[in-house]
């Protein structure tokens, strides 16, 4: 099977000649359709830089990133915007919902900027809202919702465009444990039942334990990766802790 995301030897430097920081060095990674990949690492390890490069928010210094057949490191200007709004779905730690718009309008915006008709928009929102159990909050404003609800609304917004891949940056970072679990259950449902590909950056072991594969990054390189396989989530959790200990204890 061809990978849906193919990262080849990417490097990312910050700063200038006299003061160079290597954020990513010679990193390669393949993600296949239907995978739920968690990327873990300490702060400063380069995990967010990696996600930013994949999401085209940031540019790599060298190397290539393919999404499907497109080399996204070669895209420019409006192509980039088009790619971002049509092929990718984003979920951010701080939700990034527009405070002036209702949940429904926030979600609709992702489609209306693609020129989708309002009837189609409505049909798709109703269907996905049922899936992620946010029908009740569709007409509320962000300030009237709980953190978990906001993040589920953001997830629907990310999914509504049928993206090739969902990119999530610390999605549970601003949630309490109960909301976190509900969100992660939703992710699991999306991944297992709807075959959505998810790439999630997190430093929370519980979140990572929901994934089918966990990639550990240290100093801009892949340090280790483990697959869940058939093992239970609790057991997988223990395995992650073990790697973390190894990672920190070195």
């Amino acid at each position: 099977m061809e990978p849906i995301l193919k990262i080849q030897n990417i490097e990312k430097y910050y700063g200038n000649k006299s003061n160079l920081t290597k954020a990513l060095s010679q990193l390669s990674l393949d993600v296949y359709k239907g995978e739920f990949v968690a990327i873990m690492g300490a702060s400063g390890s380069g995990k967010t830089t990696l996600l930013n490069c994949v999401s085209t928010i940031d540019r790599v210094t060298s190397g290539h990133i393919y999404v499907g057949d497109t080399d996204i490191t070669k895209l420019k200007g409006n192509e980039l915007n088009r790619f971002r709004r049509e092929e990718l779905g984003f979920i951010f730690q701080d939700f990034n919902l527009l405070d002036t718009l209702t949940a429904y309008e926030n979600i609709a915006l992702a489609l209306s900027i693609q020129g989708v008709s309002h009837k189609k928009i409505d049909r798709r929102i109703q269907a996905l809202a049922r899936d992620l159990r946010i029908q009740d909050v569709l007409n509320k404003f962000p300030y009237q919702m709980s953190g978990g609800q906001k993040q589920r609304v953001a997830s629907v917004r990310a999914l509504i465009t049928n993206p090739k891949m969902i990119l999530a940056d610390e999605p549970t970072g601003a949630l309490d444990s109960h909301s976190s679990q509900m969100l992660l259950d939703s992710f699991k449902h999306l991944n297992e039942d709807l075959e959505t590909t998810i790439l999630m950056v997190t430093h929370d072991v519980l979140s990572a334990s929901y994934a089918s594969r966990v990639v550990f990054i240290k100093d801009g390189q892949i340090f280790n990766e483990i697959y869940r396989g058939d093992c239970h989530r609790k057991a997988f959790y223990e395995k992650i802790i073990d790697v973390m200990t190894l990672l920190g204890g070195e």
């Binding site: 928010i57 200007g77 409006n78 915007n81 088009r82 790619f83 971002r84 709004r85 049509e86 990718l88 984003f90 951010f92 990034n96 919902l97 527009l98 405070d99 002036t100 718009l101 309008e105 609709a108 915006l109 992702a110 489609l111 209306s112 900027i113 020129g115 008709s117 309002h118 928009i121 404003f141 300030y143 917004r157």
Partner: protein, 680 residues
């Protein structure tokens, strides 16, 4: 240390200050320009009567300038308060570093001084440069010949500008220091965390308010146009004005409540591109700025009315003058002064003797040659008697009219002219001539306010009696016309009767109409000076085309100047407030636009959304102001009939240019500034 810090602050936030700085410079430049008119006109070749008008204008302008300085002071205080609020976080950092409020105040003092100093210099330079252009304009307005171009600099205007603005800056400093003193660290630190709740007003309440407001507004419009005859005393104008103000507030309040719902109804529009976002932004902005929007709408309304009426007065006077002055001079002299008094004193025997001479004889007697100086000479007499007053002419309709216009001078004797005399004059003026049988009379008038009153009586077929005989009106309305040249339509009514209806016993004035025997303006002026010299020994009075031109063109120009001055200041004030409100939003907008960028909205679409949002914000008050103005200008046209009728198109066009330049300029600066703000 503080100076260095404040300089750095200004340098860094210079772009945030653009609007503030722009407003200061514009305000100062305007202030200088209009106060330096005196020195702009000094070197012009203008007549004494124009000089008189300019002197009057300068004294009015200096009064207006005090008013303007109040407006500018409020505006500058408002703008600086606004900028201060934007810097809460910076002040919080100073405070956490242990800086005292006094020290922060001194930083602010330095900044205010520095900005004030620079804006004064730049503003004065701009003012001096612009006043060079303006002096050409001034000369054109007063129809003066610019003999040579000279560099104009007014020392007194400069000192006045510096003085006024120093005072304004001083007040601003006091306000700012006071503002700092009130701040608490915890509020400053958390000020950016606004928990903004979106207020949604009840839809039905909004619609209800809107309907009520429309009715009130409609009534106010009715009062100043169709129902204008009820506004017969000055205090009654307060009713439509206050109704208009109240309705304006209600309209903005209610529209902000349902504008979004209206757009939501059209789903295919609402869910297209960024429309959802833009409409939400616009409606929440309107919600929070109902008060400012109403104020700005009213300011724009005043600007439009003042500018277009001001300019049209000038245009109308020029046009009307041309029409109303077919001859060079009209002279008149009272007949038979024996037994009459002037200022409580009897006339001298010499004056009485002179009063039995007609104008030709009088002029010849003091050595003024009519044949040499005049051509196309025409003479006639006015008659009047206390047995025929306005009250008598109104006859049976008097009671009704007295009730409506209690202050009319009903006991004044009517002016009576013989038909053949009138026809002679009318022929010379190019007006229609008439015939009457020996039982008929007619009235010639062109002052609309008065002819409408007279028409009531003519309609009722009211007869008049003169020297024992009775006459009936030939026409049921006044016929338009005049006999004495004037700067506008001000003939309140002349009774025209058959030639044998009057005799010497009621002769009141002799009149002479003539053209000067001259080829150009200078020669005409020389003849006119001759008449002025002999005037004091002859008791002859008169009007001449030249003086009418000079005084009314001067008057028109003066009104226009003051109108432009006030109009620009109002426009600047309104636009500045809007621009600042919008820029204040940009801080919050920055985050929103950043989010939009993250979900893949491209720059082109973002800029378009921003442009529409700002455009709507600026245009909303303009729309209502335009509707107001439609009726306002009509009303101005009505009350200014003494100055002249419509001919509005040119002035409306000029007003539009003014508004597009200044208001549109502010809008563009706001857009560019906001665009920059959401980018970084």
């Amino acid at each position: 240390m503080f100076i260095k810090l404040s300089l750095r602050n200004i340098q860094r936030s210079f772009k945030d200050y653009t609007i503030y700085f722009f407003t200061l410079v514009l305000g100062i430049a305007m202030f200088y320009m209009f106060n330096s008119i005196e020195s702009q006109t000094v070197m012009m070749n203008i007549s004494a009567s124009t000089k008189e008008i300019i002197r009057l204008m300068i004294s009015i302008l200096s009064g207006v300038s005090v008013f303007v300085s109040f407006i500018l002071a409020f505006l500058i205080i408002y703008a600086s308060r606004f900028l201060m609020k934007r810097r809460n976080k910076e002040f919080a950092i100073y405070m956490t570093l242990g800086m005292g409020k006094r020290q922060i105040s001194s930083i602010i003092l330095c900044e205010t001084l520095f900005i004030g100093f620079i804006s004064l210099i730049v503003g004065l330079m701009a003012g001096i440069a612009l006043s060079q252009v303006m002096s050409v304009f001034v000369a054109g307005m007063f129809e003066a010949d610019m003999t040579k171009f000279e560099f104009v600099f007014s020392h007194s205007a400069m000192m006045k500008t510096i003085l006024y603005f120093t005072i304004i800056y001083f007040i601003v400093m006091i306000f700012n220091v006071f503002f700092i003193g009130k701040q608490e660290l915890i509020d400053l630190l958390t000020s950016h965390r606004r928990n903004q709740t979106i207020k949604e007003r009840s839809l039905w309440l909004s619609i209800f308010t809107f309907i009520v407001a429309s009715i009130i507004l409609g009534y106010a419009y009715y009062l100043v146009t169709a129902g204008i005859s009820f506004l017969n005393t000055a205090d009654k104008i307060l009713a439509p004005i206050s109704l208009g103000i109240i309705a304006t507030f209600m309209i903005f309040y209610s529209v902000s409540g349902f504008v979004l719902k209206v757009f939501m109804l059209k789903k295919s529009f609402y869910f297209k591109n960024l429309n959802t976002f833009v409409m939400r932004q616009f409606s929440s902005q309107m919600n929070t700025t109902v008060f400012s929007m109403s104020i700005i709408c009213l300011m724009l309304f005043m600007t439009i009315c003042i500018l277009s009426s001001g300019i049209s007065i000038k245009n109308a006077t020029s046009a009307e003058l041309k029409e109303m002055t077919p001859v060079d001079v009209c002279l008149y002299k009272n007949w038979d002064l024996s037994g009459k008094k002037a200022n409580g004193k009897e006339y001298t025997s010499k004056e009485i003797e002179y009063s039995h001479l007609d104008i030709r004889e009088t002029l010849e007697k003091v050595g003024f040659s009519i044949d040499q100086n005049f051509k196309e000479v025409l003479m006639y007499n006015n008659y009047a008697t206390n047995d025929l007053t306005i009250k008598d002419t109104l006859g049976s309709t008097y009671q009704q009219i007295h009730k409506q216009y209690p202050y009319l001078r009903f006991d004044d004797a009517e002016k009576i002219v013989r038909l053949s005399d009138y026809n002679k004059v009318a022929k010379l003026y190019g007006l229609p001539t008439y015939t009457l049988n020996n039982q008929q009379y007619m009235i010639i008038a062109d002052f609309e306010g008065m002819s409408s009153i007279r028409n009531v009586a003519l309609e009722a077929n009211v007869p008049i009696s003169l020297l024992g005989k009775t006459y009936y009106p030939k026409y049921n309305v006044c016929r338009e016309g005049y006999m004495i040249i004037a700067s506008n339509h001000m003939n309140t009514g002349i009774i025209i009767v058959p030639d044998d209806a009057v005799n010497e016993s009621i002769r009141q004035q002799s009149v002479m109409i003539a053209n000067y025997n001259a080829n150009d303006k200078d020669e005409k002026r020389k003849i006119e000076e001759k008449i002025n010299q002999i005037n004091h020994q002859t008791n002859i009075e008169g009007v001449s085309k030249l003086t009418l031109y000079e005084s009314s063109i001067g008057l028109g120009a003066m009104v226009t100047f003051i109108a432009i001055y006030l109009g620009i200041i109002f426009l600047i004030s309104g636009a500045t407030i809007l621009a600042l409100k919008q820029l204040g939003e940009s801080v919050d907008n920055k985050e929103r636009y950043h989010m939009l960028r993250k979900i893949g909205v491209d720059e082109h679409m973002l800029n378009k959304a921003l442009f529409i949002q700002i455009g709507l914000f600026f245009i909303a008050p303009l729309i209502l102001a335009l509707i107001h103005s439609f009726f306002g200008i009509k009303f101005c046209g009505y009350i200014l009939t003494t100055f002249g009728d419509e001919k509005l198109m040119t002035s409306i066009f000029l007003t539009a240019i003014f508004i597009i330049f200044i208001y549109g300029g502010y809008m563009m600066i706001t857009y560019l500034n906001s665009k920059r703000m959401i980018k970084d």
